[in-house]
């Protein structure tokens, strides 16, 4: 029998425990595992990763706006100090109703990460104790800025060019 690497063992045990919920689990490269789950079960998979597989050190929470497919992706990157593997726990949620169960109870460290994803993408985290603006100005009332349909305010360059056009035509 061939010995399996730590990454493959993780993929196997997640697949065995959650055959229905896991859409895709694969080894990306050495030290990297990607697990894609259905959005209603991300909390349970998170608990399993923390308690059974020693994923204890939260690294990052990324939001991605796939505007063409009309959905958001949220990725929790968690590092395991003992196993030296980084798992990307990812899930997709519809763009019209972006709600996800917060993982603050699983990893306390996601507190500010989730707040940031909330303000930048407008994804609501149910059960998060304090969803308020973190990095954006306190009087911010525009749409979430990291969405792809966010219109950037015109730049100085554009303004300058417009002025020149007006001056030269009139």
């Amino acid at each position: 029998m061939i010995d399996k690497s730590a990454e493959e063992l993780i993929v196997d045990s997640v697949k065995a425990r959650f055959p229905e919920e896991v859409i895709e689990a694969k080894v990306q490269r050495k030290n990297r595992v990607s697990i894609s789950v259905r959005n209603n079960r991300i909390y349970d998979v998170g608990l399993f990763l923390r308690d059974e597989l020693e994923f204890d050190h939260i690294a990052s929470v990324s939001g991605v706006d796939y505007i063409d497919m009309n959905e958001f992706e949220v990725i929790y990157y968690v590092w395991s100090i003992n196993k030296k593997v980084l798992v990307g726990l990812r899930t997709k949620i519809p763009r019209d109703n972006p709600v996800l169960k917060s993982l603050v109870d699983v990893w306390e460290g996601v507190l500010y990460h989730e707040r940031e994803v909330w303000e930048m993408f407008g994804i609501k985290f149910e059960g998060h104790p304090n969803l308020s603006l973190l990095l954006l100005p306190e009087d911010w009332d525009g749409p979430p800025p990291l969405r792809k349909d966010f219109v950037l305010p015109e730049t100085h360059q554009e303004r300058l060019e417009e002025k020149i056009k007006k001056l030269s035509s009139g």
């Binding site: 990324s62 939001g63 990157y77 100090i81 030296k84 306390e108 990095l135 100005p137 950037l152």
Partner: protein, 360 residues
């Protein structure tokens, strides 16, 4: 009992733009809520609008005045992983040299700020003065003191100038001897002990649970360093150790940084000795293929995470930056519960938070 709400900042409460919202009862801080975002520049959004090459100087400014070389390295790592690009050997060594010099400069800066917070102002000037020696070296190497844009996709921009190696070794010897003075002046100083020992104790289990990184995590006794766990560039070829603390208090957090300076000197000596001859840059097309990657590097303040999604064009589809200070920020409200108000600056400065780094 009457609870008073107190707001400190945002104009440089201790260092840089940051605001504390405190609940105090007399002299006791019951709760601290950090208010960040005063230096938010929207770098993640900016990055989507610019090409990979145009992004180099922008990304560097995530943490510009302390550790731009370490910050940049992570961005290049993630691009090169997606491209499947192997950088010339000499360039790898030069990148490591720039990053480690920058780490020393950053830790010396942290030490000087720490001394200000404890009221020992002689030690404000000594490390700042010695940091200048390192910045001068970096200026010879890269042409700039603070923001280098030295490392670039596929290598580095300039080779080492003549006489750099000898000068660098001389200054490293000086710095090693100088560390002894720091110990006498600061770390073995009774006043300093009284102010920092047993202040802001971060237990290892809490540190892991909160996701604290870098020297702060190591000061709590957890041996985690990306340079050892997932060696990037040429870190697997050097012989160095990971210093850790015992108690996880403010004192340990500074001592770990001083020990790390010693290890950086160690790495630099080996790198300067072993550096091979050869090209320093590979020409690369400015297009990154479709795909996704997450890389981690150990910058001076801790682990930098970069998550890049490329769509096969010249611009990133999404670039998520997970900087160390943002991840250490959560330790501040955790440690500032039921402590004297006078300990807040000590704890804040011992975590070595840089608001620019938090805000991006």
């Amino acid at each position: 009992m009457s609870i008073m709400k107190l707001s400190i900042g945002p104009q440089h409460p201790i260092s840089a733009h940051f605001r504390f919202l405190l609940d105090v009862d007399g002299d006791v801080v019951l709760k601290l809520e950090p208010d960040v975002g005063y230096t938010h520049r929207g770098i993640e959004k900016l990055a989507e609008k610019r090409t990979y090459l145009q992004n180099l100087p922008v990304i560097e400014r995530v943490n510009s005045y302390c550790d731009s070389a370490g910050t940049m390295l992570g961005y290049l790592e993630v691009i090169e992983e997606l491209m499947g690009l192997e950088v010339p050997e000499r360039a790898k060594y030069l990148r490591v040299i720039a990053a480690e010099l920058n780490r020393i400069a950053s830790h010396l800066y942290a030490a000087s700020l720490f001394s200000v917070a404890t009221g020992l102002e002689t030690m404000l000037m000594w490390p700042i003065n010695d940091r200048e020696l390192i910045l001068d070296l970096l200026e010879r190497l890269t042409g700039q003191r603070i923001t280098y844009t030295y490392q670039t996709i596929g290598g580095v921009r300039f080779d080492m100038p003549d006489g750099f190696k000898e000068e660098a070794l001389k200054r490293l010897d000086y710095l090693e001897k100088r560390t002894e003075d720091y110990y006498k002046m600061l770390l073995w100083n009774h006043t300093f002990h009284m102010r920092t020992k047993k202040v802001g104790i971060l237990r290892p289990s809490d540190a892991i649970k909160l996701g604290v990184v870098g020297p702060n995590l190591r000061a709590s006794g957890v041996k985690v360093d990306v340079r050892k766990d997932e060696p990037y560039e040429v870190y697997d070829r050097f012989d160095f150790s990971i210093p850790t603390g015992k108690n996880g208090d403010s004192y340990d957090r500074l001592e770990v940084r001083f020990k790390e300076v010693g290890q950086s000197i160690n790495i630099l000596r080996q790198a300067l000795k072993d550096i091979p001859k050869g090209p320093i840059k590979k020409w690369v097309p400015p297009i990154v293929p479709k795909g996704e990657a997450y890389t981690r590097v150990e910058a001076a303040r801790g682990e930098f995470g970069y998550h890049l999604i490329g769509d096969g064009s010249m611009k990133p589809y999404r670039l998520k930056i997970s900087p160390p200070s943002f991840r250490n920020l959560i330790a501040l409200p955790h440690l500032c519960q039921n402590i004297p108000l006078a300990d807040v600056p000590i704890i804040y400065i011992s975590l070595d938070l840089i608001p620019m780094d938090v805000d991006r």
